[in-house]
């Protein structure tokens, strides 16, 4: 699990405050009724519902996806779009609001059946699902897909959950290099429609793993290894027609997809047309004019478009503002003096102006909500609390900060450095905000920008470097691969993931008690008890003041002008691309 870029793996999605307990409306509205645009209309309900088929949905991407290969892709929006051409064993329910948190079977008939205390998971495949060439999807195709995804020499960037959790035979290097090796210790296929996963240790959340694109079946005969991304064999309602690397790709209907086998997809449009490497401002302008339907990267409007859209009520009514399962935070490194003293760290927690943090990230709309915890609200186990109240206006409690400084033995403040990624203007703005806010109590910050590519490996995530260069503070961010405490916390609060050679997102949390709690949670099969432990961990880390939580990320998305069935899939964090229609 890694923190990806801004367009990365923020998969889980939460609701903003206005999302009540309303049941999402998934049925079709009366045809021909005029739909009124409204801000957040696609957040908890389906905007402009329709059953009408036809049309080509036009999408554009400001960059290019990491890969289209379901076995390797690790971009959050790819995990949304991949469902258009591939069927994993399970999926997040394609519904707006909280309903999307539910896992539903997709290629499988039912959710996984656990046995052996959660060490063995069995799935039965649906009958009659076919690839784009008409061959029937078999359990062996799913097994092959999972096995090939574990070959990290061929697919270096993909998620690595399966090889870590499945009981893989020793020395297995994927089906290309270890051809013919018996892999029944990890996955067995007793018959063509049954697949059984064997884990090393119990893992109650295996259905979350089964929704990864890596379980989308791949026919071995058609697999071309690293080149498979150029023509992925579809098992979903659409298949690739053209593919031009870094330029564009188009999808058309897969004639062998059968609605009877698929309760989740409606397959309304006749196809999808995706342009790559389009200028971000251009994408926004075309979205506004209606020339384009979806900004597929789903990172939200650019700063300039944001100010244009938000100042125009008719344009604002076409936007949705979901909260993501992503936290933008700042590590407070206890390895750097004088931050080895907890009171000096607390002084930072108290002195920072939270509103300036929020503004630096883009304000309440595209920046996020001011955070006081590490877990975002939509992750099970989240508890609302605020250990370091920052005053009524959230601009910091300077009296408390000075008190903490005095306790720390630095009544006049101290000097330290703050690291940020050069390529990220928001982080630079945040670092400047820290500098301004902390100067009020005499803490003098010097800004240190580093290259994004080596930020964790060589600089802010490299403990000796952090110490040698006095990086007291380091801007950071984390999004979970799926909405769950394990996915969110394990990589950022576990001291055992810190590597002396660098590379870890965790740079500041070194609390033995938290490590123990993490182990306790992973082995806890009872969901409620497990979630309670996540909350406990959150609080314990905040007590040590080694993380300054900044904002729970939000994005400002714009609905295409001509689309029907638009809603944000909260678990994915984007519009549900599979459900869209464009009659």
């Amino acid at each position: 699990m890694r923190a990806m870029g801004a367009a990365g793996v923020a998969l889980a999605l939460g609701l903003s405050a206005c999302a009540g307990g309303t049941t999402p409306k998934t049925d079709t509205g009366s045809a021909g009724s005029t739909v009124k645009d409204a801000f957040n209309a696609g957040l908890t309900t389906v905007f402009n519902p329709s059953e009408k088929k036809g049309g080509i949905i036009k999408l554009a991407d400001e960059a290019a996806p990491d890969t289209l290969d379901p076995g390797e892709t690790y971009y959050g929006y790819s995990w949304d779009f991949v469902r258009v051409y591939g069927r994993a064993l399970t999926m997040f329910k394609p519904a707006p609001g909280k309903a999307s948190a539910e896992l539903v079977p997709d290629l499988a008939e039912t959710l996984g059946v656990a046995s052996d205390g959660g060490k063995t998971w069995t799935y039965k495949l649906r009958k009659g699902v076919k690839f784009e060439d008409g061959t029937v999807v078999k359990a062996a195709d799913v097994k092959y897909a999972v096995l090939r995804s574990t070959d990290k020499a061929t697919f270096p960037n993909g998620p690595a959950y399966f090889e870590a959790m499945l009981n893989m035979p020793k020395g297995y290097k994927g089906p290309y290099k270890s051809k013919g090796m018996n892999t029944d210790s990890a996955i067995t296929t007793p018959d063509d429609s049954t697949i059984v996963f064997h884990l090393i240790a119990p893992f109650a959340g295996f259905d979350y793993l089964a929704q990864l694109p890596q379980t989308i079946p791949v026919p071995e005969a058609k697999d071309t290894g690293a080149k498979y991304k150029e023509h992925v064999i579809s098992s979903g309602p659409y298949m690739f027609k053209t593919y031009a690397a870094d330029k564009s790709y188009t999808l058309v209907r897969n004639p062998y997809w059968d609605q009877a086998t698929d309760p989740n997809r409606k397959a309304l449009p006749d196809g999808y047309d995706v342009q790559l490497n389009v200028n971000a401002e251009d994408i926004d302008n075309r979205l506004i004019s209606g020339d384009l339907d979806v900004a597929i990267a789903g990172t939200g409007l650019t700063a300039a478009s944001q100010s244009k859209v938000l100042s125009d009520p008719t344009l604002k009514a076409r936007t949705d503002n979901p909260t993501l399962a992503r936290l933008w935070y700042t590590s407070i490194n206890p390895t750097v003096k004088p931050l080895d003293n907890i009171d000096c760290r607390k002084a930072i927690e108290y002195a920072m102006d939270r509103t300036s943090y929020q503004t630096a990230y883009g304000g309440a709309f595209s920046g996020g909500e001011i955070a006081t915890t590490i877990l975002p609200p939509m992750i099970p186990g989240y508890q609302k609390y605020d250990l370091y109240p920052a005053g009524a206006d959230n601009k910091g409690d300077l009296a408390k900060a000075k008190e903490s400084l005095a306790k720390c033995g630095q009544p006049n403040g101290f000097a330290t450095n703050i690291a940020y990624r050069n390529e990220r203007p928001k982080e630079k703005a945040t670092a400047e905000a820290f500098q301004q806010a902390l100067a009020r109590v005499g803490i003098k910050l010097t800004l240190k920008g580093y290259a994004k590519a080596d930020y964790f490996s060589s600089y802010a995530g490299n403990p000796p470097f952090v110490k040698a260069n006095n990086l007291g503070l380091a801007l950071n961010g984390w999004g979970a691969d799926w909405p769950d405490g394990f996915g969110f916390l394990s990589q950022i609060v576990d001291s055992r993931v810190i590597r002396e050679t660098g590379g870890s997102s965790n740079t500041s949390v070194r609390i033995p008690e938290v490590d123990k709690l993490l182990d306790q949670a992973v082995n806890e099969l009872d969901t409620a008890k497990r979630n309670a432990v996540w909350g406990q961990i959150d609080k314990r880390v905040m007590e040590e003041a080694v993380i300054f939580p900044g904002v729970y990320a939000k994005s400002l998305l714009m609905r295409g002008k001509n689309l029907t069935n638009v809603f944000v899939n909260e678990s994915l964090g984007y519009y549900d691309y599979m459900a869209l229609g464009k009659p």
């Binding site: 401002e281 650019t302 700063a303 300039a304 944001q306 100010s307 244009k308 938000l310 100042s311 509103t355 300036s356 929020q358 503004t359 630096a360 883009g362 304000g363 309440a364 709309f365 595209s366 050069n422 203007p425 630079k428 703005a429 670092a431 400047e432 905000a433 500098q435 301004q436 010097t446 800004l447 240190k448 920008g449 290259a451 260069n469 400002l556």
Partner: protein, 331 residues
């Protein structure tokens, strides 16, 4: 210009031989006086000069001016930013321009643009001046040596110039600024970055001036006055410093003036690319770079753009005027 044998480089008109003290209307004028007279008649160049003097004055007195008219350059004023509406742009018309903030405030953090422009001018001018000084120092030395000695020395230096001219300067600058640690040679912070930029910009620009000086030296060393000095037993150092260098002052002065705006632009480009002086220190290029994301707030881009434009134009006008004044035949 104290040489008794002072001549203009090309016209060979010697100094008026006798300066008659108190000789009524007939008054001898030195070359400098003649050039100054010509420059005074060139109103455009003079205008450029006045603007430059003004810029230098404001740069030097920036802290006092800002004390009086603005706010500290890095101070946030987020109460002037529309955070409630979410646009994060300055409240009020024309980017929040008011008597408190003469040029308005920046989007996002509300920093005072006026004081940032003033402080930015210090960085721009400082780097441009010293980088030019460095280029001129190296370029003149190398050019004179190459031109005067000729032979293998000239061949070596000329090839060295070719190498430097072929150098991908921008790429190199980005790379060097990127790998530079935060503290080196016992200095750190902005000072180190400024010195680094001076070095990069100055050190790699010397061949331009070097070539011109070499060419001038080549033609000068064959002149009669040099031969005369040599036949009188003058040694090389005397010839170099007393005979040649004074005659090279005019082209050096002209090209220095024209090099400064180039260097200002180069510094702005480096800051724009994020390899200049580090945030939050204000630089014109850095401000432009920040403004790109907020093109809906045109004033944010306007002020630093205007500052660069006016400065570069002023230096160019003055440089052109200076060339005309010092060397009227080059028109």
């Amino acid at each position: 210009m104290t040489s008794p044998l002072e001549v203009s480089p090309t016209s060979l008109v010697a100094d008026p031989e006798a300066v008659l003290a108190g000789a009524g209307k007939i008054q001898g004028r030195s070359l400098g006086q003649i050039a100054w007279m010509r420059l005074k008649r060139d109103k455009v160049a003079l205008g450029g000069g006045v603007v430059i003097a003004f810029l230098i004055a404001t740069a030097i007195f920036a802290p006092w001016i800002v004390d009086w008219l603005g706010d500290p350059p890095n101070e946030f004023h987020q109460n002037l930013i529309d955070t409630a509406g979410g646009t994060l742009t300055p409240i009020g018309p024309r980017g929040g321009m008011s008597w408190d903030h003469l040029m308005g405030v920046e989007p996002l953090n509300g920093r005072d643009i006026f004081s940032r422009i003033l402080y930015g001018s210090r960085i721009s001018l400082l780097i441009a001046f010293f980088a030019t000084l460095l280029s001129v120092a190296i370029g003149t030395t190398m050019g004179v040596v190459a031109g005067f000695f000729g032979g293998w020395v000239d061949a070596l230096i000329s090839r060295l110039m070719d190498v430097f001219l072929a150098f991908p300067l921008l790429v190199f600058a980005i790379a060097l600024a990127g790998v530079m640690p935060d503290t080196a040679f016992g200095i750190g912070g902005d000072m180190l970055r400024i010195l680094l930029l001076i070095f990069i910009i100055g050190f790699f620009n010397w061949p331009y001036i070097g070539r011109i000086v070499r060419g001038q030296t080549l033609s000068l060393r064959e002149r009669e006055f040099v031969d005369a000095a040599r036949s009188l037993g003058a040694k090389n150092p005397y010839l170099l410093f007393r005979e040649l260098l004074p005659n090279l002052m005019a082209p050096i002065l002209v090209y220095s003036t024209l090099l400064i705006p180039t260097n200002i632009l180069f510094e702005a480009a480096l800051s724009f690319l994020g390899v200049g002086v580090r945030a939050p220190t204000a630089t014109w290029g850095g401000m432009l770079s920040d403004a790109v994301t907020y093109y809906t707030v045109p004033h944010f881009m306007l002020w630093p753009g205007l500052a660069i434009f006016v400065t570069v134009l002023a230096f160019n006008l003055l440089g052109d005027g200076l060339r005309d004044a010092l060397d009227p035949r080059a028109r």
